[in-house]
């Protein structure tokens, strides 16, 4: 269906999907990690001086 160069086309799409998935995983996991550490610190009563709420 995609001709004699299918390997090159599939490899391009697979690599792009992998890199995009890695970027998404990086931001999602990093966000979860920062939220967890912030939660732990706040539970221990540590607050930022500039915080007004």
């Amino acid at each position: 269906m995609i001709g004699p160069h299918a390997d090159f086309i599939i490899a391009s799409y697979a690599l792009t999907a992998f890199v995009v998935a890695a970027l998404i995983a990086w931001v999602v996991l990093d966000y979860a990690s920062q939220r967890r550490v912030l939660g732990d610190l706040e539970e221990r009563g540590v607050t930022r001086r500039s915080r007004k709420d």
Binding site: A11, D30, Q34, V46, R48, R49
Partner: protein
């Protein structure tokens, strides 16, 4: 809310939390439409089905260059106004821009082999794009290895401004030198030279990748702001412990 109000990290976080789900949904929708149109696009009369690689390669190239442009503007904010959000924006853009530049180079090589007969040539367009990737890696090294985060940020900002010289070289390399890479075929005087049956899916995919970039960038900026808060709170905790011990 005035635009300047967004320069406050707390307000930025509120806005990011509000818009990120919508941006992510719009990105997914555009990718669904773009990929459907790309798979249904006709083969090129010379390149055959390998033209489908263009739907990845060209947007990745544009966004690799856009990422560096964004970092250069952010660098001005860091160096001239010393605004913390400018540094956050620059730092968050670097890995995303590097990833898109990497995609551009690898898909270009995979497209080059069946169409040119080679994965790589040291022509001006390919070489200047490789230089862009190396510049991204240098900026990331400055951000990740500097002992003093502020000095690392300033050094990265200076490199971002100096490296911006490479952007017009990439854009006009195909006009200034005799290259194996084809000249511009979308953004050029006289209009695009691509048939609408291929140009339309290309533009939809470009829009989808652009929204993906914006979504990832906002999310990465949010993470960086939280990371700095964590750092501040850890320092305060250490200070409180030290004071309690004396």
């Amino acid at each position: 809310m005035a635009i300047i109000d967004l320069a406050n990290p707390t307000r930025f976080l509120t806005l990011a939390n509000r818009v990120l789900p919508w941006l992510a949904a719009a990105t997914a929708l555009l990718f669904a439409v773009g990929l459907y149109r790309a798979m249904g696009a006709p083969d090129d009369y010379q390149q055959g089905a390998t033209v489908k690689i263009m739907f990845l390669h060209v947007p990745a190239a544009w966004l690799g260059m856009f990422g560096w442009s964004l970092m250069s503007v952010a660098a001005l904010g860091t160096l001239v106004w010393r605004h913390p959000l400018a540094d956050v924006a620059g730092k968050a853009a670097a890995p995303i821009g590097a990833a898109f530049t990497f995609i551009c180079l690898v898909t270009g090589a995979l497209w080059g082999r069946p169409t040119w007969g080679t994965y790589w040539v040291w022509d001006a367009r390919l070489t200047s794009m490789l230089v862009l990737l190396l510049l991204y890696l240098a900026v990331l090294a400055l951000y990740w290895t500097a002992e003093d985060a502020g000095r690392g940020a300033r050094a990265a900002a200076i490199l971002a401004l100096v490296g911006a010289v490479n952007l017009p070289i990439i854009k006009f390399s195909v006009d200034w030198w005799n290259t194996l890479h084809q000249p511009a075929s979308v953004f050029r005087m006289g209009g695009a030279t691509i048939d609408s049956s291929i140009l339309t899916p290309l533009l939809i995919m470009a829009l989808a990748f652009s929204l993906l970039f914006v979504t990832l960038h906002l999310a990465a900026m949010r993470n960086e702001i939280l990371r700095r808060r964590v750092r501040t709170m850890q320092l305060m905790q250490a200070q409180q412990l030290a004071e309690a011990g004396t």
